[in-house]
Symmetry: C2
Subunit: 488 residues, 2 copies
């Protein structure tokens, strides 16, 4: 233990420099020391990425990942390790997607299907591609009769609409495109423009994880630019597209849960979480294998620290995050009566960069408190505590339930390229960022669970509503069918 | 004319600043003025890229591009516009290529077929992927009996071999892999490593443009890295691969030729060239739509300058460059008797960056001469004249024939990503780089064609051999079946 303590003191040098008036308790030093000097996080990530790969909710890979996580939690020595089952209305699996512009010139088009979207007929279909303005979806749907036999190519013209609004209108648009007999929809390359890189960024068809019969594909920006130039010049485009997905009936999924029971208040719970599911083009390394492994490594660091917090720390690896935080919503439903016992939830889901701080999702009342631990958690760099909002991670589900939902902030420079894309692979992750992130959530989680005073009690639904109004999120959330959750 | 002359003087300001002791003749100023202030190059490139697209030698698109180039040359006012037919032993067309790692984990693999490589059976094949060391191809082939039913995954272990040597051994390796009953070969992502970008860089199966029955694919670096990690850990890999290409018997191609006849020595010829063919994943914008359009724009600038050079300038858009400078080799064969009349060939094939100079491919005897015109050709920036070698462009075919083969050097920072890849699209090209490159070759070409003294006479075969020895290229060239060409 002594050797580790010394190592920890060296490694978290920021502690002494950054907070001269504070002395970190021996427990936090031990946790940080275990997390930094005795980490197996990078090995775990390699197992998860190379051994299992992409983990779409409800898929065999996701099931394998859950079993792996259960085994890992048990090996680490967590208590009460179990899966908490929940169900999705449909399972979905990608097979292939191909497209070509056939006229006025030939171009192979890089495309990938949205999750929970449909297929073309086998062998594909050639059709005219026509522009549909995503900023006028309601207006455009009035002309849906003209969509029969057409491929709808989404473009942005005129005044951009708020993204939440477009997101909420996308489902009804897919439905009416299908009803009108459109062949397929071609969307942008995702949340990120990646000109010059052959990437597509996958998402679910809509936030609620609904299934739509119509094929919907994302297209590499360079190829979309060709189509846009030609459409702008009033050229008639003929595009061939073949999309093959496999959809099924209801499938089971589960959140994976393990605990370090509290020594004095075992009924009070601090959640450390991340999402185990991922998209399937890559390996889900930066989104969110990184966070999942950081949570397991934090659990290991705390379990092996020789200290035990006074409250329970519950480690939860959610599934269904990519389909609209479905796993954490299921968790909230299953644990509804237990919500008053939840003290806070700390979630790691901002990619693969080094930790830079914590975002408290509107809870400015907690900034000063959490700043107390920020230098100890920083393991070499001071962390910045803000009330910034990260929509969405599973932390936000806790915020909606009145429980402080805290996101680990990271400086993930390349995340916009990697996440949801084919290059989200193991080699993108630097071990030092993973180790430092695990240390940060381990120290914060332990500190919240072990401080004498409870960090916070859950807000009422009414006060949560006020918080969301302050965050200017109420309208946006209503559009996607979300609002305050809670125990009442 | 006056207005253009004034504009030209303003635009090529570098002239006055860079060469105070020299005054550019009115003809060069007029040529540079036309090339810079009256350019249609960018429109032409848009027509070629968006209107026709990728132009694989022998394909319908390449044929369309030739017809387009003939029409363009005629519209510009060139003389003796015609196609010079040559034949390839086989035509080839890409249909699709898909692969997945099936075990030990699942991963969609981004792959693209090499040109003039074969297909798998329809529906693909699942097989074990085994490593083959590209640095020991001869040694590896001794164990070819073990390749039956396997997918061969090329890796680099131990001492790297010279690239020419590997290149030369690749064809026999493909042949023996096929004979041994291997399912397919997975190669690297091409000449460029593009980690984090979902790119594959296509090439012909070998330098001579031979056809091999076995499927050979390039794979995105990120996905190849997964396979390499697993193979390094002695894991057994199962990979599914489906490659569909279409190969045919002999196909016709042609170089497109047009001239501005010399006023005094019409039999003496200065060639300005580029290659019209391209790979097919993208639009062949930076390789070598850029060069092709620069040549057309140079032709237009000279034709419309109001001046006429004393020697003939022959504008040649070669095909078959991507299959091993087959078009320029065919040109050399067809014009063998005319070689003594060739003064020089200037080729633009270094991507889409701004011009930085000219590479003389070993001809240090010409550096001082060509420096005379370098500030006039720079149109705003001084060009650097060196005897550096660019292997290979069509200029090098002229070098092999004893004729000074001169390459336009360009600072093409992103070319390593774009060339031979799916993102080689029109939007990558900046008009100013295209215009300046066209001006540079127009001015140099005109100057060579119009100077009183002939720039050079072709070297004998023997002296060309000495030049190649000096360039340390003799052995390398012999490996791929090339050596001094010539009229003797």
């Amino acid at each position: 233990m002594n050797r580790i303590l010394i190592l920890a003191l060296v490694l978290i040098g920021g502690l002494a420099a950054g907070a001269q008036t504070r002395v970190a308790p021996a427990s936090l030093i031990a946790v940080a020391g275990q997390a930094t000097a005795n980490s197996h996080a990078y090995e775990y990530l390699e197992e998860l990425c190379d051994g299992i790969g992409g983990r779409v909710t409800g898929s065999p890979e996701e099931q394998r990942a859950r079993q792996w996580a259960v085994n890992k939690m048990k090996a680490i020595g967590l208590q009460n390790v179990h899966e908490e089952r929940w169900q999705m209305a449909r399972g979905w699996r990608r097979i292939s997607a191909q497209a070509e512009m056939r006229s006025p010139s030939h171009q192979y088009l890089t495309v990938a299907s949205l999750g929970w979207a449909g297929s073309t007929r086998d062998g594909g279909e050639e059709a005219e591609a026509v522009a549909v303005n995503r900023n006028e979806l309601v207006e455009e749907q009035k002309h849906a009769a003209q969509w029969r036999g057409k491929i709808l190519f989404l473009v942005s013209k005129g005044k951009p609409r708020p993204s939440f609004e477009i997101y909420a209108l996308m489902g009804p648009f897919f439905q009416s495109a299908h009803d009108a007999g459109a062949v397929a929809v071609i969307d942008g390359d995702g949340t990120t423009e990646t000109q010059g890189m052959n990437l597509t960024h996958i998402d679910p068809a809509d936030f609620a994880g609904g299934y739509y019969e119509i094929p919907v594909v994302r297209m590499a920006a360079d190829h979309r630019a060709i189509l846009e130039r030609l459409l702008d010049r009033k050229q008639t485009l003929r595009v061939w597209i073949e999309v093959r997905n496999s959809a099924s009936g209801p499938v089971d999924s589960a959140n994976v849960v393990g605990e370090i029971p509290g020594s004095q208040h075992p009924d009070e719970i601090v959640v450390l979480g991340a999402h185990l599911d991922s998209w399937d083009l890559g390996q889900g390394a930066t989104d969110d294998g990184f966070g999942s492994v950081a949570v397991l490594a934090a659990a290991e660091a705390i379990a092996h620290s020789g200290f035990r917090p006074i409250r329970t720390i519950r480690f939860v690896l959610f599934t269904g995050e990519e389909q609209g935080v479905k796993g954490s919503l299921a968790y909230m439903k299953a644990h509804q009566k237990e919500i008053p016992n939840h003290v806070a939830a700390v979630v790691a889901d901002m990619g693969d960069g080094p930790p830079t701080g914590f975002w408290l999702n509107g809870r400015d009342d907690l900034i000063a408190l959490i700043e107390e631990v920020s230098s100890a958690a920083g393991s070499g760099g001071r962390l910045r505590i803000t009330d910034a909002t990260y929509t969405f991670s599973d932390a936000f589900t806790f915020t909606l339930a009145g429980v402080p939902g805290i996101d680990l902030a990271q400086d993930s420079a390349d995340y916009r390229y990697t996440h949801h894309s084919t290059v989200d692979t193991f080699d993108k992750v630097k071990p030092e960022n993973l180790v430092r992130s695990a240390a940060a959530i381990a120290v914060l989680g332990y500190w919240i669970a072990d401080r004498e005073q409870r960090l916070a009690v859950p807000l009422t639904r009414e006060r949560t509503g006020q918080l969301l109004t302050k965050m200017k999120l109420n309208d946006a959330l209503r559009l996607i069918g979300l609002g305050p959750l809670g125990a009442e």
